[in-house]
């Protein structure tokens, strides 16, 4: 692997190629760009910028999408998971 940078994606450590963009990361994770929101170091990105925003050492990336929900309880939220489809 060429020079790598270490970043955090949805709370998990991950290495990616130096100069890789948000778009590259989404492709690598096989996440379709439609209907996802991406936060880079707490800044919400415009989807038109996914290909131009490159990742740097220590970046914190959050990738979010829609899941089933009416009124999700705080406890589930705190687990930071997307397991809201389970029955109570």
């Amino acid at each position: 692997m060429a020079e790598a940078v270490r970043i955090q994606v949805n709370g998990q450590q991950r290495d990616c190629r130096m100069g890789a963009t948000i778009g590259d990361l989404l492709r690598e994770l096989e996440i379709k760009t439609e209907r996802v929101a991406v936060e880079l170091n707490l800044e919400i990105l415009d989807r038109n910028d996914f290909e131009s925003r490159s990742l740097s050492q220590g970046d914190r990336v959050e990738i979010l999408s829609f899941i089933g929900g009416g009124c999700v309880s705080g406890e589930r939220m705190k687990k930071g998971t997307d397991r809201c489809m389970t029955t109570d």
Binding site: L64, S65, I67, G68, G69, G70, D82, M85, D88
Partner: protein, 257 residues
């Protein structure tokens, strides 16, 4: 039939039953229940994508955003900052400017933190969001929310998921008289009669999740709710008879022997 459409912020809705998409067994059941309910507005939550298991399917593969109005919520947010952040993320994820705004007060009751709610609503309205606030059955707070620009208010019937039904019908009635925007009774409905009652009182719509998803047979309950909301609305429009303490004969006395 008379023209009876629900219009909020210039958007027209066919159904007066709105449903949540949480707590179902799987996406197939979610989809089926929503179809049977006839709802055209469905609420969704915004959460982290599972990056370790990409085999997981996406809710919106089952619920077509072209067919339904997707209403993202800020469920699970306990601070103004969190609620605003999640609303912005929902918009960035690209369905619309609509948001069902929740700022919760505590985990035990999940009652709204109404001061936080008003504060968050102000911020989001300024940013062009169409804010539908989940609020308490408090007429004063409802009025404040409308005054700052919310195009509808969503007072609770009872705590989220409690199934207790309408605990304070008089407050709901006062809210209906106080504010001139659509009122969507949200949360706390337990069964069909609760939904019918909310509509009979004059609510413009009812939003529920657990009452359907948590029923023994969610699909059958979805159908029951569809009819309950429809019947309640028709009864409201028809105008009920006044309550009286004593009987009034419905057969004529004249012609009796």
């Amino acid at each position: 039939m008379y023209d009876d459409r629900l219009i909020i912020a210039g958007r027209e809705f066919k159904s007066r039953l709105w449903v949540g998409t949480g707590k179902y067994k799987d996406f197939v059941e979610t989809k089926k229940a929503i179809e049977v309910s006839g709802a055209d507005v469905v609420t969704v939550a915004v959460r982290r994508v599972n990056i370790t298991d990409r085999s997981k399917e996406n809710l919106l593969d089952y619920i077509d955003p072209k067919k339904y109005t997707i209403l993202p919520n800020t469920a699970g947010c306990y601070t103004v900052e969190d609620a605003v952040r999640y609303a912005r993320l929902a918009r960035a994820a690209g369905v619309s400017d609509l948001v069902k705004l929740e700022v919760l007060g505590d985990e035990k009751t999940l009652f709204p933190d109404t001061t936080g709610l008003i504060e968050a609503a102000k911020i989001l309205l300024k940013e062009g969001f169409i804010v539908l606030p989940y609020t308490n059955d408090d007429p004063i707070v409802a009025k404040k929310l409308v005054d700052i620009g919310c195009p509808a208010v969503m007072p609770l019937a009872a705590p989220i998921g409690s199934g207790l039904g309408i605990r304070n019908p008089y407050n709901l009635k006062i809210i209906m008289e106080t504010v001139k925007v659509p009122i969507i009774v949200d949360a706390g409905v337990g069964t069909a009669s609760d939904a019918a009652l909310a509509m009979e009182y004059g609510a413009d719509a009812v939003l529920m999740n657990t009452a359907i998803a948590g029923a023994k047979d969610p699909i059958a309950m979805a159908e029951a709710m569809k009819y309950a909301v429809h019947a309640g609305r028709l009864a409201y429009k028809a105008g009920r008879i006044p309550r009286k303490l004593y009987a009034t004969a419905s057969s004529p006395i004249e012609g009796m022997l």
